[in-house]
């Protein structure tokens, strides 16, 4: 294992200290319990939007804390859910009296810890609503699984809900909007190489030189199938077809298209992937009205990418275009 760390057990904490040092005007980090919050929170009268999850997916979620997006983020250990005391403390710290929205990715541990946190907050008299993101088409959604994983759509939900809260939408409206984003967003990813959790010291799976893992999640776990590496055009087509057929997206739809890097893939390749995706969508008469290309929801140093498509309307697009000022996303300011 070759990583820029001091001690594997301090990696998350040390990284958060760096985040705080790099962006003091935007956010601050509390360490007992651990959470990241907007420097100017709480904002009186505004719905607060909070997310959280295991670390190792940076910039998600701490890098999305700031004006127009998240009020707080709760990082767990690498790939491990944060604990309810973190969410409770963060919720209390950023509550501006208009209630708090929790954006939760659909993993068993995350769901249960956020559920307990919501109960603790309600018992303190803070109104909490939750939106669960479950957009990964690689997982079959049935009674016989924990359901689909929450992946790329989380980024879009955090941006759009954050914008709505900044506009003064009330808690029910922000939550309903979050659910609308989840209902209309779908994702799929692939890995060219695995990743190594610092405390584990070895990779979660092994791939041959000419092999890829299709349908991965974001925790270094194996995906839907292992297959030979193909030209990017064919891999993009496989991912996009699975996504398009699932919602389904139809001719005339307008979408926000995100090509996300898993952490170890250069932008040159991500833009190449976006170009293929753009061509495919236009050929289907689906319009990518907005795009986002870069590393937003990663799996440590894994090489690979994911594609997320969100079917939009005027309201969602307008909220997407609203100003945002966070370490990882900023425009309009």
């Amino acid at each position: 294992m070759k990583k820029l760390i001091n001690d594997p057990h301090d990696a998350v904490r040390d990284s958060l200290a760096g985040l705080a040092a790099a962006h003091p005007a935007i956010l601050k980090v509390c360490f007992d319990p651990v959470y990241v919050m907007r420097a100017d929170a709480p904002i009186q009268g505004k719905v607060a939007v909070i997310s959280g999850g295991g670390s190792g997916h940076e910039p998600m979620h701490g890098g999305f804390v700031g004006r127009g997006m998240l009020d707080a983020a709760c990082p767990g250990q690498v790939f491990t859910s944060p604990t309810p005391d973190q969410m409770e403390a963060a919720t209390c710290a950023v509550n501006g009296g208009a209630g708090v929205l929790h954006i939760v990715k659909n993993y068993t541990g995350d769901i249960m810890n956020f559920e307990m946190a919501a109960e603790l907050c309600q018992s303190r008299g803070i109104e909490v609503r939750s939106v669960v993101v479950n957009d990964d088409v690689a997982v079959e959604d049935s009674l016989y699984t924990a359901g689909r994983r929450g992946v790329g759509t989380t980024v879009l939900a955090e941006k759009i809900c954050g914008a709505a809260a900044a506009r003064g939408y009330d808690l029910e409206r922000v939550a309903a909007l979050g659910r609308r984003v989840v209902a209309n967003g779908r994702s799929m990813g692939l890995a060219l190489s695995p990743c190594t959790v610092p405390a584990a010291g070895k990779p979660g799976f092994v791939l041959g030189d000419d092999e890829i893992e299709m349908g991965i999640g974001i925790h270094g776990e194996p995906g839907r199938k292992r297959m030979p590496l193909l030209p990017a055009r064919e891999l993009v087509a496989q991912m996009a077809e699975a996504i398009l057929a699932d919602l389904p997206f139809r001719e005339g739809d307008r979408v926000i298209a995100m090509v996300n890097g898993m952490g170890g893939t250069p932008l040159m390749e991500l833009y190449l992937v976006y170009g293929e995706l753009d061509r495919l969508l236009n050929a289907r008469h689906i319009t990518p009205t907005r795009s986002l290309v870069g590393n937003y929801i990663t799996s440590l140093e894994m090489a690979g990418c994911s594609i997320t498509l969100l079917k939009t309307d005027d309201e969602l697009l307008s909220l997407w275009d609203d100003p945002v000022l966070t370490p990882a996303l900023r425009w309009g300011i």
Partner: protein, 215 residues
């Protein structure tokens, strides 16, 4: 001290928790290996961390009564374990605390009530059903066996022996099951043939009570 023969006291509860810390330290590798096969290879590490944190907290802030002990255990597990096991075992002890409200010692019916409340909490929190390959596949048969033993007039040791035996049978019965909850469910058929780590830690919990509460 004749009533020690019929009731679990505050000290008895503390002894159970001390034994649990040893048990989870001793089974750390086994639980982690089981979790590596179908999960994310941290269940033993998390349980050891949680129950050793419980010992530290109980020593630093000794709670006054049985209910307060279980409340302290719940808060510590929820804060220190993480993943799914933290909320599940935390909820177990939270509900156990409520079931012990106002009691200075637990008789046979109280012990069964404690487990009934705790296991009900696990079921509610995790929303699993019997056969999903989870903790409940050890806990629910144990509860049935303990209820039957109590209704049949068994003493605490007899009740817990029956409970522990049923938990062990339930734990072994998870091996051929296909997981339908938790991270193991993403594996589909590949989860068959592995013993569930959560059912295993739940079985250890029951066995420790049966070993400790021999009055």
């Amino acid at each position: 001290m004749g009533d020690l023969n019929v009731a679990v006291t505050r000290e008895g509860v503390l002894r159970w928790l001390a034994v649990l810390a040893q048990v989870f330290a001793g089974n750390r590798e086994q639980l982690t290996d089981l979790d590596r096969a179908i999960g994310d290879a941290d269940h033993g590490i998390n349980m050891e961390r949680g129950f050793s944190a419980v010992q530290a907290e109980l020593a630093a802030n000794p709670p006054a009564d049985i209910r307060a002990i279980f409340q302290s255990v719940a808060a510590t597990l929820i804060r220190s374990v993480g993943g799914a096991a933290g909320p599940l075992y935390g909820t177990f002890f939270l509900r156990a605390a409520a079931a012990c409200a106002g009691k200075t010692a637990l008789g046979a019916a109280d012990v069964v009530a404690l487990f009934q409340a705790g296991i009900g909490g696990v079921q509610q929190r995790g929303k699993a059903e019997p056969g999903d390959k989870t903790m409940l596949d050890a806990l629910l048969p144990a509860l049935d066996a303990m209820r039957a033993a109590e209704q049949g007039g068994s003493d605490i040791a007899g009740i817990l022996d029956r409970g522990a035996a049923a938990a062990e049978a339930g734990m072994l019965a998870t091996i051929p099951m296909q997981a339908r909850k938790g991270r193991a469910s993403y594996l589909g058929e590949r989860s068959i043939g592995h013993q569930d780590p959560g059912a295993t830690s739940s079985c250890l919990l029951l066995q420790a009570a049966a070993r400790t509460w021999r009055l």
